[in-house]
Subunit: 210 residues, 4 copies
């Protein structure tokens, strides 16, 4: 068995990716269940009630983008990881557990967008995702355990710095939440844009003509 | 890293497709959660209550077909796109965000099928999907950035016209909604049929015997 | 474009399968949302309330198996279909629309297991699935349009007979429902077993040693 | 047909895996729907209400890990199974039916974490999963029906013992539940860790450098 399982590292990677894509897809789509049609009895009242849904729509957009960012992050790591072992598999399942929790923490933030404890739970969820993703990377790259031996240290440090932006921002948002809930909320909204807008990473990731 | 990531454009495409198929599948299936068994206390009342579900069933069918149409549309584009870059990846995630919103806008239309504001939100959601899909195409084809250099202009204009049918129809439906809610609703029901029924595009897409 | 799209029939098939697997997976899993923990205030009352969930558990098992049967049926067809065209694609999307409706018709039957109208809606849903699957097969095999030219008529008739068992049984169940609701319910429970238990088809489908 | 279906054992395997990955992904993500934002009217009450969610969060984590364990278990079997037949396909669908039931039994345990009947249903669900997985393995390996003829008996017995750990622990938890509900709950929480923590199996499953 040892040979058979060990000789199929690609299969292990592809099956982790299939489960991950499924969980990301479900978690991203479940977010919308938190936005419900308002119950009104006359047509004239509906527009105002719809406008009142904006905090939920904003939470939806922010969480959807954050999940998109972490999905891209996990896949970028798998680009550089050559094979998986049992420990990496379980780090991934813990990672997916934190991903799957986002529909709850988003629903909480939607319900109480300006309350410190809701902001803290939301931020803690996102920090947990980031730290598990960092653990995933550190485990895979430690002594080049599961990555290309030629992966250089500069690249390694670049990936680590990039992962840490999220947890750092969300830790700041949690601290801010007890001082100014509005400032904290703004930080949560701005955070995904920092990742999505083109930056230095783009120079490394150009389409190839072939 | 630049070489490794750049040399795997196919992987990037296939992973976007896996996430997209997942999100489409979940969004299409969640639509049914909006149709709930009526609560009745005697058997004789059930048939009438079931018949009263027709607006929800109609919304279900229309939204399911529209999601099917956009799923086909996104995949047709990927047939012609040779590789993906980071910007295309993010346009796709924004596209999926508008797709994932459809269960909400459908539930809203189901609840208030003849109210202008519900019709407007539904139409705006469908227009947003169409416009992001257009942006996706324009970005990929601009100066043949990500498509085959031999893709001709006629084909390009044909795809653009085809994408624009949807937003044009739905903009008309929104304008109509304040004049005649029934006419607007009819337009929403007819729209998917325009795409589904065989048309000029079929001549381009015949099965091959090999 | 005609050449590019026509030369990728395999891609078209595999992408329909990916969407189908996703929709089947979500529909099959959503069935369980219909079984909810009973609300009781003392521990002694819970066992009795749990036993009272048996009609929902039975509906869950029957619908799960029926969806499994239709999933196998669709995939068996794709084994024999060599390529897809636009019409087949849309027949599939209509097929998936009837699949996606099953969580609703199951919830209805769970709520009113012995009421004729609930039994009729459930049966009509299953009949619709079977007939669309038959349409799918007839379209693909008409003049060997999308199947191997060597597919023989005996095989063709065998597949048609096998598909028709379901709609025939469910039509009988609908007729029975107004005469004896219990008999109708028993028919729904027995139906999946007819497909699942080994039969003549097994002689055709043995594992190969290579 | 016999040749065509029999000559595609790989396709059969890969399609079972695609449906399985989808059902696991949905079931794992649906678990979170059981944790709902508490309804409070003043910010000061929210932290206490959030802390009161701990049994639900614990159930979420335990069930997520258990599903992860069974997902790994099913895939490990498919590593060693060379092809699928119709019986194996249906054993898999029954397996997925027990997997899909976990969101219900988890919601039940979350609602009544210390009541024997809830603990029994949860344990019985997990035992059923384990026994169906054992049936799957016994069927495939009986007279080396669907596995490599060189698979040795020691490996076979090792897999069987490993599968049986779960049902044995959960049977013990059910017996304990009527004696000491707390002890039973602790057993449920500890069980996944026994599988997840590195053990003897790791010596067999090392990453390969190539």
């Amino acid at each position: 068995m040892s040979t058979e399982l060990a000789s199929l590292p690609g299969l292990t990677k592809s099956r982790i990716e299939a489960l991950s894509d499924g969980i990301f897809a479900v978690a991203m789509t479940l977010l919308v269940l938190d936005i419900k049609p308002p119950a009104v009895i006359e047509a004239a009242a509906l527009p105002r009630e719809l406008l009142a849904l904006w905090p939920r729509c904003l939470s939806y957009a922010v969480s959807f983008l954050m999940l998109g960012i972490y999905w891209v992050g996990q896949h970028n790591q798998f680009h550089l990881i050559r094979c998986a072992d049992r420990t990496l598999l379980w780090i991934n399942i813990v990672f997916l557990m934190t991903i799957s929790f986002v529909p709850f923490s988003t629903a909480l933030l939607s319900a109480y967008p300006l309350w410190p404890s809701a902001q803290t739970v939301y931020g803690a969820n996102l920090i947990a995702i980031g730290l598990v993703l960092l653990w995933h990377w550190m485990y895979a790259t430690h002594r080049h355990r599961l990555v290309d031996p030629e992966l250089d240290d500069r690249m390694n440090r670049f990936v680590i710095r990039r992962i840490l932006i999220g947890p750092a921002l969300f830790a700041l948002a949690i601290v801010l939440s007890s001082l100014s809930a509005v400032a904290s909320l703004i930080l949560y909204v701005v955070a995904p844009l920092i990742y999505v807008l083109p930056g230095r990473v783009d120079r490394h990731w150009q389409p190839s003509a072939h």
